[in-house]
Symmetry: C3
Subunit: 486 residues, 3 copies
C-alpha cells in the first residue's frame, strides 16, 4: 500500500548501496590494481561528504538506535527539508534557522505543524520508513507556516494553534488518501495535502470571520501601467533568492539565501535547478506583463522553483533532454501560476503551490518514445545525484545485455552456417553412396530409412542445396563409412 511513499526513505536504500559499491569494487578490482594518492584523497573526501550530504543515510541508520524523542526531532527536521525534496536533517536545521530569521511566530507554527503531522502519521500507523524520511512532515510545516502567514490576527495569536494542530493532524489522512489515487500512476502526492488543507481553512473562515480571520485577497480588476524605465534591476536579481524563500512563504532575501545553502549541502543539482526555476519564473512574469511588485516579492518564482527541481533530476533521471523539459515545465508552471492566482483570488485565496503540483504532475504523466527521458520508479527516487547513478547502472546493464544478445545471435548464425556446411557434406556423401549402390541392390530398405532422416535434417538449408545438388552429384566419394555414424 505504501510503496508510493518509500522512495525517499533512507533505510532500505543503504544495504542496496553497499551491495552496489561492493559489486562495483569486484568489477573494478581487476582493472584498477592500485589507486593513486589522488584517488585515495578523492575517495576519502567523498566518504566525508556522504556523512552530511545527500540523504544522510548513515546518520539515519545510526539514528534508528537512539532515544525516541531524538528520532522524532530527526523526522521533523527531515520533514522541514522535504518541502524542497531534500531528505536531510542538516538542511532542515538550516531551513529552520532561516525561518527564525524571518519570523519567530511563523517558525513556531511551522514546527508545531511538522511535529503534529508526524505524530498523527504515527497514530495512524503509516509506513515507518516514510515517516522517518519526513514524508509526512513537509505538508505539516507548510500548513503551519502558511496558516500563520495568512492569518489576519497578526503574530502571537495563540488560538491559531488550535486549527493549526487540527489541520496538521489531517495532513497524513489527506496524504494517505491522495497517495491511494496517485500511486495508480506511480505519482507522488507533492504538496497537494497542504494546498487542500490551507485553502480549506482559509475559505472556511474567510476575511470576516471573528475567530480566525484571513488576510484579504481580492481579484485584480485593473493592472498598473508598466514602463520598462521603472524597473529596478537590483530588486529583479534579488527576486531569485526571494522566490526560493517564498516556497516557505518568506519574503526575506537572506532567508532565501540560507535556503539555497541548505539545498546545496544536500544536492547541488537540486540547488542549481531551484535557482534556475526562480529565474524562469521572473522572466515569465516580465513576459506576461505582471506588476513589478509581484515579481520582486517572489510570487512568480516559488512554484517554478519546485517544478524545476521535481522534473530536473528528482523524478526523471537528469539528461540534457530532461533539463530542457524541466525549463519548459518551469515556464508552463509560471503561466499556470498566473492563471490559478487569478482564479483563486475570486475566492479570497492565494495560489499556494497548486501551480507546481498540477504542472509537475502533468509533466510526470507524459509518455514518450525516447529513452533519454527516463522516469524513475517512485520507489527508487532518492536525490538527483543518486538517481543519476541508478539510471547509469540500468543503462550499463541494458547495454551489457544487448551486447550479450548480439554475441549469442552472431554465434548462432555462425553455428547455422557450420551446420549447413556439414549438411552439404552429408548430402555429397549420400549422393556418392547412392551411385555406389546402383551397382549392388542389397540392403536397400535400411538405406531408404537413412535417406528419410537425411531429408528431414537438411530442411533448413534445403532450398539452396537443391540448386547445388547437381554439382554435388559429380563429386567424388572418399569416406562412405562415416555415413553409418551420422
Amino acid at each position: 500500500m505504501f510503496s508510493e511513499l518509500q522512495p525517499l526513505m533512507a533505510h532500505p536504500d543503504l544495504p542496496s548501496k553497499q551491495d552496489t559499491s561492493q559489486d562495483d569494487k569486484r568489477e573494478k578490482d581487476p582493472v584498477q590494481p592500485a589507486p593513486t594518492n589522488l584517488q585515495r584523497a578523492k575517495a576519502r573526501f567523498l566518504k566525508g561528504v556522504s556523512y552530511f550530504a545527500g540523504d544522510m543515510s548513515i546518520f539515519a541508520k545510526w539514528m534508528e538506535k537512539q532515544f525516541f524523542l531524538l528520532q522524532l526531532l530527526d523526522w521533523v527536521l527531515r520533514g522541514a527539508a522535504q518541502v524542497m525534496f531534500v531528505n536531510n536533517p542538516l538542511s532542515g536545521l538550516i531551513i529552520f534557522a532561516g525561518l527564525i530569521l524571518q519570523n519567530y511566530w511563523w517558525a513556531l507554527n511551522g514546527f508545531v505543524g511538522t511535529l503534529f503531522a508526524t505524530i498523527s502519521a504515527l497514530i495512524l500507523q503509516q509506513s515507518r520508513g516514510a515517516i522517518a524520511a519526513g514524508l509526512y512532515g513537509y505538508n505539516g510545516i507548510l500548513v503551519g507556516l502558511l496558516m500563520a502567514v495568512f492569518s489576519n490576527k497578526g503574530n502571537w495569536y495563540w488560538w491559531l494553534l488550535l486549527p493549526n494542530v487540527f489541520m496538521s493532524m489531517m495532513c497524513p489522512i489527506v496524504s494517505s488518501a491522495l497517495a491511494s489515487i496517485n500511486s495508480r500512476w506511480d505519482l507522488p502526492v507533492f504538496t497537494l495535502p497542504f494546498n487542500i488543507l490551507v485553502c480549506l481553512h482559509m475559505v472556511a473562515t474567510g476575511h470576516y470571520n471573528h475567530h480566525f480571520p484571513q488576510v484579504l485577497i481580492q481579484p485584480r480588476s485593473e493592472l498598473p501601467n508598466i514602463t520598462w524605465a521603472e524597473i529596478d534591476v537590483a530588486k529583479l536579481f534579488m527576486s531569485v533568492p526571494v522566490g526560493i524563500g517564498q516556497v516557505y512563504g518568506c519574503d526575506n532575501p537572506w532567508t532565501g539565501g540560507i535556503f539555497i545553502i541548505s539545498l546545496f549541502i544536500s544536492s547541488p543539482i537540486t540547488c542549481a535547478h531551484a535557482v534556475l526555476g526562480s529565474a524562469v519564473g521572473m522572466v515569465s512574469g516580465l513576459a506576461l506583463a505582471a506588476p513589478f511588485g509581484d515579481i520582486y516579492f517572489g510570487l512568480w518564482g516559488y512554484n517554478c522553483v519546485l517544478a524545476c527541481i521535481a522534473i530536473g533530476g528528482m523524478f526523471y533521471a537528469l539528461t540534457w533532454q530532461v533539463h530542457l523539459l524541466a525549463i519548459t515545465c518551469a515556464f508552463f508552471c509560471a503561466y499556470l501560476g498566473s492563471a490559478i492566482a487569478n482564479i483563486m483570488s475570486s475566492f479570497g485565496l492565494p495560489a499556494c503551490t497548486w501551480p507546481f503540483c498540477l504542472s509537475a504532475l502533468t509533466f510526470l504523466l507524459i509518455t514518450t518514445g525516447t529513452k533519454k527521458i527516463f522516469k524513475l520508479p517512485l520507489a527508487k527516487v532518492t536525490f538527483p545525484e543518486k538517481n543519476l547513478g541508478f539510471y547509469w547502472k540500468l543503462k550499463k546493464q541494458e547495454k551489457k545485455e544487448k551486447a550479450e544478445k548480439e554475441k549469442s545471435e552472431s554465434e548462432e548464425q555462425q553455428k547455422a552456417i557450420e551446420e549447413e556446411v556439414i549438411l552439404n557434406e552429408k548430402e555429397q556423401l549420400r549422393m556418392a553412396l547412392e551411385r555406389i549402390e546402383e551397382g549392388r541392390a542389397e540392403s536397400e530398405e535400411s538405406e531408404g530409412e537413412n535417406d528419410e532422416t537425411n531429408e528431414e535434417d537438411r530442411a533448413p538449408g534445403a532450398e539452396r542445396q537443391e540448386t547445388e545438388e547437381e554439382d554435388i552429384r559429380h563429386n567424388d566419394l572418399t569416406s562412405v563409412t562415416s555415413i553409418e555414424n551420422v
Copy 2:
C-alpha cells in the same frame, strides 16, 4: 461491472445468511444442548425483529414474486431510505411520511424523482439487484426534492416536473459513469450524481431565468457580531434533529425526529451515528464562529450526519478506533462544509452534499497499518450490525487459521523430534547389527543396501547423530529382527 452496486442488495445475501446460521448452529449444537426459555424468547424476538429491521431481506425475497408495480413501490421506498444508507422499505415509508409533514409539493417531487430514476435504471438495464436495493433511487429523490426546495416559483409550479423528470432520469447515467471510476478504488458513488445534477440545473438556469428561476444565494461579505449571551440553548438542541432533517432539505424538527425513528428501525448504530454527526456539526459551527441562524437551521449538521454514518460502521467495520475516525471525519466534514458553502455561494449555489461526499471519500481512501480499521469490500456492505458480524466472522476465521497453523507447526516440531528419536534407535540397532555381523560375513550385500536407505532416512537429524554415534556404538543390542520391519 456492477459489483460496486451489489453491496446493499438484499437477495444474494439471504442464502449466505441462512448458510451461516446453519453453520453456526452445527458448531454450537454440541456446546449448547438445550436452549433455555430466555434464549428461546430472545431468538423468537430476534426473528420477529428481522422481519422489519435491517435490510428486510425476507420481505425482499417475498417481494420478488409479487406484481411488478408493487415491486416498483418497494424499490422506490428503499430508494428513499438509501439516502441515509438504509435499505429498508419501512424506513422509506416513514421518511415519506416525514416529507409529507414538511411539504406536500416537495414530497410529490421527491416521489416523482425516485420513480423516474428507478424507471430510467430499468430502461438502461442496470443491475436488477442494485435497483431492487434502491441504489438508483436515492439520487432521484434528492434531485426531485432539492429542485423543488430551491425553485423560486414556489409550490405547485407544475412545469418544474419537466426538468425534474429529465434530471432524475439522468441520475442512473451519471451514477453508472461515476461508478466506473470509483469502482477502481472500491468506492461507492454516494450522492455525487445528485450533487452534480442539482448544481447543473441550478447554475444552468440561475436566479434570473424566466422558466426555472432559482432561490437567490449570494456570498456573504460580512458576518454579524456574535455574542454568546444571545445563544438560544433550546434551538441549539433542536438543531440536532433539524440537521438530520436537512439531509432531505427539511427544516422541520418533527420531520427530523421522524427520520431518526426510521433510522432506528433499520439500524440502531446508524441512528446513533446520525445523532452524533449532527451534534458534531453544531459544535463545529460554534467553533468556527458561524452565524447562529445557520446552526439552528441545521446547515452545519446534515453533511456531518451522512459522513458519520458512512464511516461509523457502514463502510468500515465498527471498532472504537473506527468510531473515533467517524467523529474526526464529521469534524473535517463540517470544516469542509463551511469552505464549500462559501465557494459555491459565489455561483449562487448551495453546498448540497458535496462536503459529505468529499470527506467520506477521503476517509475511505486512507490506508493504514492497523487491522482495527477494516474497510469492508464494497460487495459485502449491508448495514452496520451485519457488517460487524461479517468482520467478526472474518476475524474468528483468521484466528482459527492462525491457531491451526501454530498447532500444525508445533506438531511438526514434535514429529521431527520423534523422528529423530526413532532414527537414533535405528542407528543403534544398525551399529549393534554390524558388530554381530563382524562374526559372520554372510549376506553382507543386502545389509549394505539397507544401510544406504537408512543413511537417506536420517538426513534431517544427521548432524546431531554423528556426534552421538560414538556413544551409541557401545550400546547393547536387544532386538535385531525389528530392523527387517523398518
Copy 3:
C-alpha cells in the same frame, strides 16, 4: 502506452481491410458466381468513393513514401479535420477554406497552431501513427484559432503568435498526460488539452493585461424579457449551420455550411449527427429561456454537435438505441453548456468545449446490461461507417460461434442418445450371454472381466437401464460373437 491514440490511424487498418475484403470475396464467391453489371458499377463507385471518403487510407499509404514536408501538410490537414473526429485531409482542406472565408488572421493562427502542435509531437517522439492521423494537431488548431478569436488586440497583432506557438507546443504534452489517465478507462482525451490551455492563457492574462488582453466576458446578472413573438425563424434555422461553425469559433453560416460539406465527404453518419446535435442545442436553448441572440450565434449548438457525433456512431457502434443515447447526450450537453458558461463567465472565460468533453466522457463511461449499446475498443475506432462494419462482423462471428456451440451441443445430445441405445443393446447381449453361460461354466473369468468394462461403459445411462434390465432379461439372444468385438 499510446494504444489509446492508435484508433484513428490510417495505416494499420489498411492491410486488415484488404484481408477482410478478400475473406469476404472468398466466402461470397461460391454464392455469387457472376456479378451483374449493376453490381460491378456499384463496386467501381464504392472503390472510387474510397479514394477520398472515410479516412482516405489508400492516400495515407501513398503519402508515406512522399517528401517529409508534404507528409507534414497531410498531417496538418488531418489535424484540422480531427476536431470533428474526421481523419481526412480533403475535409481538412475544405475546413481551412471555410476558415479563410471567415477571417484570414484566424485561419493563419489556426494553421500555425496545428503546425507547431504536430512539430512538438514529433520532437517529443510521440506515436508516429497518431501524429499521421492528425491526433496531435486538432488541439493545436483550436488553441491557435480561439486565442485569436478571444484576443482583444484585434487582427494582425503579430505578438500573439508567441503565446500561440508556446501553447500549441504544450498541446502534445497535455494530451500525453491526459491520455495516461484516460486510457485507464479506454477513453479518448477529446479536446480537453485545448480547453485547459486556452482557459489557462485567457485567465493568466485576462482583460486588463497589457501584452495579451482578452475579450471581456462578464457574468450575466439579468436576462432580457423573452417574448415568443420576437423570434426570427430564419435566424433560428440558420443557427444550425452556425452552431457547426462555432466548433471552430466561426459565426459565419456559410463557413458552417462548408464544414457540413467537409463532414459529408468523409462520413454521412457524422454529418447527420452534427446537424442533429446543432438542432438539439437550439431547442434546449429555447427550453431553458436563453436569450435569442445566444441561440442565433450558435453558442448552444457547437458542444451538442461534438457530443452527438462522438456518441452517435463514433465511439459507440450505431444502433437505434445508441442513436437515442446520442440525442440524450446532446440534450444533457446543452444543459451542461449553459451551466459551465455561467460558471466560467465569473472568471471572464468562455465555455470552450468543456461541456462536450464532460458530457461525452460521462456517456462513454456508462456500463449497461444491453448488448445493443456497444462501446468500441479505442484502438478499433475509425469512422462511424467502418465502426458499424466492425460491430456487424463481431456480431456475425458471435452468432456463428453460438450456432456452432448449439450444433455441437445437439450433436453431443444425439451421440449420448445413440450411446445409450448401444449400451442398452450391449446390456441385452450380456444378459443373454449370462443365461447361456448358466448352462456351461467354462471361461468364466475372462467373461467377468468383460463384464466389468461394460459396467464402466454404461455409467451415463446406468440409472435408466437398471429399471429396464428386467424387461431385457426376457429378450432373445441373436449374436453372441459380437460381444468379443466391443
